[in-house]
Symmetry: C2
Subunit: 228 residues, 2 copies
């Protein structure tokens, strides 16, 4: 049988709740420090507390919220040190992945990264900053993916989520979109050429500079982006 039909999935309530809340946190709709009261949330979502609690636990495991027994949950605070740690760990993950990609030496990997760069260029030319961000994410996801390391992928997912949160909360000033695209081209080419040291250096520069910029402005960012 040809599978032209998408399997229509039947997700447990818990998972849909996770997605809803996660999205709210990642977009900054739910702000760091905000308390999540089970009774209220459950009522708001029109469900019972059981699946909600399970959802909260998962978010807690993902590091997005913080739960203290008998005291409830709240969206985790994001200090400047957290941001620095996040980007330093992220750098480590990506350089590690790049090393593995080069060691495994697949030509597909190089092509895949270059393809994403070209999408990036299109988005940049079209001036679509939202799309550019999405493609940027997929570029870095691809590096992890191509390293063929499932445990790394698992660990990455946590870091990656929180990076998204940081991006949503920081009122960053974008570098020129074309410069961003060019940076990724250089990284893709370095990996394609098999030059470990260069790849690592470019990644470190690329990620660390973004992280430093965000971290340096972290404490003086405006925190009232979504006036309720």
């Amino acid at each position: 049988m040809s599978n032209r039909l998408n399997t229509l999935q039947n997700k447990p309530l818990r998972e849909r709740v996770v997605e809803t809340l996660r999205d709210a946190i990642l977009t900054g709709e739910l702000k760091p420090g905000e308390a999540l009261v089970e009774t209220d949330l459950a009522a708001q979502l029109g469900i019972s507390r059981a699946p909600l609690r399970e959802a909260l636990q998962q978010l807690s495991a993902e590091g997005l919220i913080e739960t203290i027994a008998y005291h409830g949950s709240r969206v985790k605070e994001l200090t400047r040190k957290d941001v620095e740690e996040l980007y330093s760990l992220r750098t480590m993950y990506e350089t590690f992945a790049a090393r593995r990609i080069i060691q495994n030496g697949s030509a597909d990997a190089a092509k895949r990264l270059h393809d994403i760069y070209e999408q990036m260029l299109d988005a940049s030319n079209a001036g679509d900053i939202r799309l550019l961000n999405m493609i940027d994410r997929s570029f870095h996801d691809a590096i992890i993916e191509l390293s063929d390391h499932s445990l790394l992928r698992f660990s990455w997912s946590h870091v990656s989520l929180r990076v998204r949160q940081v991006m949503a909360l920081s009122n960053r000033r974008m570098t020129s979109m074309n410069i961003i695209a060019q940076n990724h081209l250089r990284i893709a080419e370095a990996i394609a050429s098999g030059d470990v040291d260069l790849s690592v250096r470019l990644l470190e520069e690329h990620i660390a500079s973004a992280g430093d910029l965000i971290a340096s402005q972290w404490d003086k960012r405006s925190t009232d982006q979504t006036p309720s």
Copy 2:
């Protein structure tokens, strides 16, 4: 008031269940592939399914069990590739931590590692292999701890748990206990001397060689260590 009394903690049921099950998995009492049926487990522990389910979810987040919606949970299988991934990621974490320790350059760190080495030596001389293992764990935990990186600590805890599981399941042949202790001394000294490259190299050798040994024998290990 003098606090001669230990604070008696009041853990939720869920957490005690997590500890019980985690322990069972880490010691190999619950074996990879084994199904965890909620109804049975809850009855066995004499509790309701709600806290048990929450415990299972946490174990799932820790990567110790695998849960498929509507199909239940089972202890995660540990393939040879998993072992290799585990040790490669572990190496990355520890070398990253060592770099940070050296950069931060605290003398306390050096002393702390050396102290642990001396405990190790005592255990080695006493021939207490179980104690030696515990101290070995604390040495590597200390490296992570001393790097002063809470996100790293968080990520480490997952990897560290699964490493323990691997150790429990592998019927490894111990290298001489004294050699192990000596390895750690060299690492501690390299970190103390501030030599990044040497520290990284020693750590990579130390961890990778242990990982390679276990991985190479993984498929032919005996799986009937705890005849029920």
